[in-house]
């Protein structure tokens, strides 16, 4: 799997980075695309990861921030509620054990004890003594409950089982919500009785509320069945069913995320009060607490999107620039390679032509001498029929040999060695001389020849005779190309390397791309009957030998420009073959 991925990667990229045979724009577009996306992916991935981690951490912090006050609130309320109930239960237990049944049922003892109790502790409503048959035999309080029968009340059973009991809130016989704290006493005589007090639930509410609730926070008590034991702000009155799902019983303070009936997300902290079935709950809507996160999230999103946009733009521009540079450099390389190939081709052709010329020269010389001898012999004899005709034929052979000779000599001229004829010279002078040769012909046809820039051009070291031949060739061609009344311009400028650049332009008929491609090859002539087709070939050879370069631009119907660059000094190997 990994290996195949690797192969695919290198297929895609290896191809993209290969040296091109030719410069195709599609190739660079795809390269730019691949590199841009790669760079975007590499830059954006950490950014996204960072944002994700940041988001998760921020969420966690927010949750904690949301949970912590609730947690603290529940802990605080739990402590005060447990203290409140514990204190009262202990006091009741103390009374039950300090007095006997008879002491409490006789006279005003119970009233006295209850008054003392009430003065010491808040929240007591009444107090009664229940005998082992469930009958309340003594009672102090605002209700008519003396002799009330509690035998069937669940709290009495719980007390008889556990010895001490703190009840849930219930309506009881009086029909008002209250809670009971009861303690069973078994006297040495074997008599068993129960001392019970009731506590006003308003006290519990006060205690729950005393911790100071935020506006959106609710805190309440409920029993194991989910019945509210105190009034709740949002979820109902005492003894109503709590409309939230009740968490499992836990003596540890716990924080949970729950939803109400409408699906609102809530955070709830809760704990079960020690020694009771009562659960203390604090509830707060989670959405409100997330408000700061929502605003931060949009800021984070803007930063993220902005970051990605910048990365994409910068990647795009950078890759465009880089691939552009690459493309330009490839183009230059391909062009240089093509130029080198062209030069090598012409050089090979030159060598081949010289070789052929050499091989042809010897037989030509033989033909020449044989024909000459034949003429010599003929001239010594007397007249005979066809003598004049034969002499004419032989002369024709000689002149044909002469024609062939001129071709082979020029071919040899392309690659001949050049011994030092180098001198410092001014191109302006050479061009002026060359123009001098052609002036008459140009004038007759109304062709203007102008020069430009030769005054400022630097002097160079080169071969005067050879350069003359070059300009004669180029300007002769230009003259042949222009119509009567045409114009030829010869411009000169300094080149970067201390050399010079000369342009010979005409506004003549121009040449086709096909002609332009072959212009420097031998025997390639457009002047069918006039030229040998060697002029440009020799011109090319000379310029190359002088360490320069020649280039041609042409447009059919618009004209042709030959550009020659010549170095300040010819290279050391100038004497070698072209």
């Amino acid at each position: 799997m990994l290996a195949s991925l690797k192969t695919k990667f290198f297929d895609a990229f290896g191809h993209a980075f290969e040296v091109p045979d030719e410069v195709s724009p599609e190739r660079y577009r795809s390269l730019r695309r691949i590199m841009t996306w790669l760079m975007v992916a590499v830059s954006v991935t950490p950014l996204l990861l960072l944002t994700g981690i940041n988001h998760a951490q921020y969420m966690r912090t927010l949750e904690r921030e949301m949970e912590n006050p609730l947690y603290a609130l529940v802990r605080k309320s739990q402590a005060s509620l447990e203290l409140f109930l514990g204190e009262r239960a202990s006091t009741v237990s103390l009374i039950a054990h300090a007095y006997n049944f008879d002491e409490l049922t006789s006279g005003t003892t119970l009233t006295r004890v209850f008054m003392a109790l009430k003065s010491e502790f808040k929240g007591f409503v009444d107090m009664g003594l229940v005998d082992d048959k469930g009958r309340q035999v003594a009672y102090v309080g605002p209700y008519e409950l003396l002799n009330a029968d509690y035998a069937k009340q669940p709290w009495l059973h719980e007390t008889q089982v556990k010895g001490r009991y703190i009840s849930d809130v219930f309506l009881g016989l009086r029909g008002i919500p209250h809670m009971v704290i009861a303690v069973q006493r078994m006297e040495e005589s074997g008599r068993t009785w129960t001392l019970r007090v009731t506590i006003d639930t308003a006290q519990l509410e006060e205690l729950v509320a005393s911790v100071g609730l935020m506006q959106d926070t609710d805190a309440f008590l409920c029993d194991a069945k989910g019945v509210l034991q105190t009034n709740s702000r949002f979820y109902g009155k005492t003894l109503e069913k709590l409309p939230l799902s009740l968490p499992p019983r836990s003596l540890e303070t716990t924080v949970r995320h729950i939803s109400d009936a409408e699906g609102t997300r809530l955070v709830a902290a809760y704990t079960t009060l020690a020694g009771t079935d009562l659960t203390l709950m604090a509830v707060k809507p989670a959405t409100d607490l997330l408000r700061p996160w929502t605003s931060l999230r949009s800021e984070l999103l803007i930063v993220l999107c902005g970051g990605i946009a910048i990365i994409v733009i910068v990647s795009h521009l950078l890759m465009k620039h880089l691939v552009g540079r690459l493309e330009a450099s490839d183009e230059r390389r391909v062009a240089a390679f093509a130029q080198m190939e062209h030069n090598q081709k012409l050089s090979s052709i030159g060598r081949l032509a010289a070789g052929v010329a050499h091989e042809v020269n010897n037989p030509l010389a033989v033909i020449n001498e044989k024909a000459g001898l034949a003429q010599d012999l003929l001239s010594m004899d007397g007249d005979f029929p066809h003598k004049q005709k034969l002499i004419g034929l032989l002369q024709s052979i000689e002149s044909t040999v002469e024609r062939a000779r001129s071709i082979t000599h020029r071919l040899l001229g392309f690659s001949r060695r050049m011994e030092a004829h180098q001198q410092e010279l001014s191109l302006g002078e050479i061009v002026e001389e060359t123009i001098g040769f052609m002036e008459r012909g140009a004038k007759n046809r109304g062709v203007s020849i102008t020069t430009e820039g030769f005054g400022e051009a630097p002097r160079i070291v080169s071969d005067r005779g050879q350069l003359q031949q070059v300009f004669l060739n180029l300007m002769g061609n230009a003259l042949d190309a222009v119509a009567d009344g045409g114009a030829i311009a010869v411009r000169c400028a300094a080149a970067d390397d201390g050399g010079v650049k000369v342009q010979v332009s005409d506004n003549g008929k121009g040449m086709s791309e096909e002609v332009r491609k072959h212009i420097f090859e031998p025997f390639y002539s457009t002047k069918k009957d006039k030229g040998t087709g060697l002029g440009m070939f020799i011109t090319y050879g000379i310029v190359r030998r002088l360490g320069g370069d020649i280039d041609v631009e042409s447009e059919e119907g618009r004209g042709t420009t030959f550009t020659i660059t010549l170095p300040h000094m010819p290279p050391q190997s100038a004497g070698g073959d072209a």
């Binding site: 020269n361 010389a365 033909i367 020449n368 010599d376 012999l377 060695r417």
Partner: protein, 126 residues
């Protein structure tokens, strides 16, 4: 003006025909076909002008030229070559030679060159 001329060229057809044409014009011409023979023939009887090919088997034209100049500095040598081109103004890249001509050479040119060479050495025999 009859001249003693020594021709050396491995191209027999050429050199023999040339010798015959020079002979028709009254010159005394000897012909050899390689460099070594050219030197030997020269020593037998010193010619007034030597015409040698530049590329010959055995001893090349260049070596022959050097040896001739070493032995007889005043003897003019005309070099004929199918290889080395010569400028139109007759500039001679071959050091020591009286003239260097490229084959095929017009007979009149060669004749003029031979005459000029003989005159330059001052050994014109009538």
């Amino acid at each position: 003006m009859a001249l003693h001329i020594l021709l050396a060229d491995d191209e027999r057809e050429f050199v023999e025909t040339l010798a015959e044409r020079l002979g028709l014009r009254g010159h005394h011409v000897r012909v050899v076909y390689d460099g070594l023979s050219a030197l030997a023939e020269m020593e037998k009887e010193l010619p007034q002008v030597m015409v040698i090919d530049w590329m010959m088997p055995g001893l090349s034209g260049e070596e022959v030229l050097r040896k001739v100049k070493a032995a007889h500095a005043g003897l003019p040598v005309i070099v004929l070559t199918g290889h080395q081109a010569v400028d139109d103004n007759g500039q001679d890249p071959v050091a020591g030679a009286f003239m260097c001509l490229t084959k095929p050479v017009a007979f009149a040119t060669l004749l003029d060159a031979i005459t000029a060479a003989a005159l330059s050495s001052g050994e014109v025999r009538s």
